[in-house]
Symmetry: C2
Subunit: 348 residues, 2 copies
């Protein structure tokens, strides 16, 4: 018996949706959440898909997350969108915010959404990939429970605050960057913990600030910013966009979606998109992106690297492979899903 | 005799302006360039001030940079600004672009400027600090001659493409992040070279891809992105914003402002700003920034760090000190300035 169960994306979505619906999430909303989480699994971001859904489902069952939020989308200026998520599921709130962003870029060419009172939304890039498909350059971030120590501090202050960015790339899959500003993402640390493996050196310290490779000690301790002071500065800027600007909570006040039982977690999201057509004919932009990628591909490589790839290229290849041949889930995730009532038919 | 000459900011600006005017730059334009470069020196960014002016002056004298550009500022949408710099001095083109951005945010709340056919503009943050003073969050970047190898490549492809970001911070100096996406900035490598010092480990390889601490070998070779694949991905995204989007040149095609004699260098700039008032009352935003900073300052610190500081805090302290007591220039820079006709009265 293998520890991997291959499941089609459609089946994964169906099972995830059933789990949420059984806990009081309206079917249409459950579909949105299931689709966005499975989109992460499809792309190989295994830490941000059904792995999260299982914890979301527990939070919904406990009503720590609101299954039927009254999400408020408010336009303060033609391009400026304030969203109050009413403690709804993160992917649902993020999708509603991006719906408003995409509608706005069609009429005004640019839109910014500042989202408060939300929850963890999975992989930031999944949402703004819609903007790339609509001819936009876009960026996104989200805050999260404070896990990362600013450079110089011996305490958690920033979330793993991702920086995500997309751009259309002509005939190629879109440029997609999606990176935690910590050296390792908390979801990845949890995955190492679940698998009983040590985390890479340099990712974290224990609670006393001593470097550690122990995943459990890292979760008790602090993650480190990637790239030292530069990553720390970027994490700070994203904390402003995702916490200060929206009138919600900064990372230092956000709670853990998965372990806190005190009050809503209060995560914030940020999305910004603008049409490339505001600056350049989209066909010309596409040709220029293709040319830049062709030149990147032609660069000489260091030992062990066959071809230099652009951000998004590897993810698109995985997504194509998994769309055709199914998503390889750890059996434990499928077992958890089944235990929650999400019957799963394996195979493609 | 000391190797440092202390000069007041006003005197530094006056000398820099005189050097440019003597080479055919109109006085008003020379003032803009001098002011923006000395602003970098005031803030302690010694690699991006008069250190650059001297090379700009040679380029203007040779007419490799156009002393009297017809800068074209075009609005394609109410918020979208395309700027053709006509190979003018970088700080002049950047200031004109920011003039348009600041005018636009007053009427529309948001603005994006994509600038082509410009030149090196010094420190990116200097320009968007004006946006912070006008109640905006803003980001900026610029491309530059390819010096940085993408992760996996054994060739230069990206410029040191800075990421700069600002936000108003209430009673405190603004949040100001300004970082090269290379591990070390090229200007800093040149400064090490000028001072005959080795560069830090991890910054660069020689032309064969072998790590080096020799500044001259690094200039012949490749700089490395900060933070590995994450910094490399960020550099790529900034190359899209500063090169692909504006219809100008990507880093791989930009020439060196200081050594090339073939054709205009073709640098691109990018600026984006929006009013915080679109999302939150500015007084509330200020109070929230102050609260976040107070909490950062209260964090326990690692050994050797007295207080955790936010990006922009150290720079503001240096600027206040230098405004009061003058800018300590290496004698060599003052000598070069004097040789170019920029008589300098030392002292404050």
């Amino acid at each position: 018996m293998t520890d991997i169960v291959v499941v089609s994306a459609a089946e994964a979505r169906r099972a995830a949706e059933a789990v949420l619906v059984a806990r009081g999430v309206p079917p249409g909303d459950a579909e949105v959440v299931a689709r966005n989480l499975v989109a992460a699994d499809l792309r190989g971001i295994d830490t941000h898909g059904l792995f999260c859904l299982i914890e979301y489902a527990h939070a919904v069952a406990d009503r720590r997350i609101n299954p039927t939020p009254a999400i408020r989308v408010e336009r303060t200026l033609p391009w400026a969108i304030r969203v109050d998520g009413d403690n709804g599921l993160g992917p649902l709130v993020a999708e509603r915010a991006m719906d408003a962003v995409l509608e706005t870029v069609e009429s005004h060419g640019i839109a910014v959404a500042a989202v408060r009172n939300a929850n963890h939304h999975g992989a930031a890039a999944v949402y703004i990939e819609r903007a790339a498909a609509a001819g936009c350059i876009a960026i996104a971030s989200a805050n999260a429970i404070a896990m990362v120590a600013p450079v110089g501090a011996k305490a958690r202050f920033f979330g793993t605050n991702p920086f995500a960015a997309v751009a259309p790339a002509g005939k190629h899959p879109p440029f997609v960057l999606d990176m935690a500003t910590s050296d390792g993402a908390l979801r990845k640390v949890r995955k190492f913990l679940a698998e009983g493996k040590p985390i890479p050196e340099g990712w974290a310290t224990d609670k006393d600030g001593v470097p550690t490779t122990d995943a459990a000690a890292a979760i008790e301790g602090m993650l480190l910013p990637f790239g030292g002071a530069k990553g720390s500065g970027l994490a700070y800027f994203l904390d402003i966009l995702t916490g200060v600007l929206n009138g919600g909570l900064i990372s230092a006040d956000v709670r853990n979606n998965f372990t806190n039982h005190d009050r809503p977690s209060g995560n914030g999201h940020f999305f910004l998109a603008f049409k490339v057509s505001a600056f350049l004919d989209p066909a010309a932009f596409a040709a220029r992106m293709e040319s830049q990628i062709a030149r990147l591909h032609a660069l000489p490589t260091v030992a062990g690297v066959e071809r230099v790839r652009y951000p998004g290229e590897r993810v698109a290849a995985i997504a194509a492979e998994r769309a055709a041949h199914g998503i390889p889930y750890p059996r434990r995730i499928v077992d958890d899903l089944v235990a929650l009532g999400g019957a799963v038919r394996a195979g493609v």
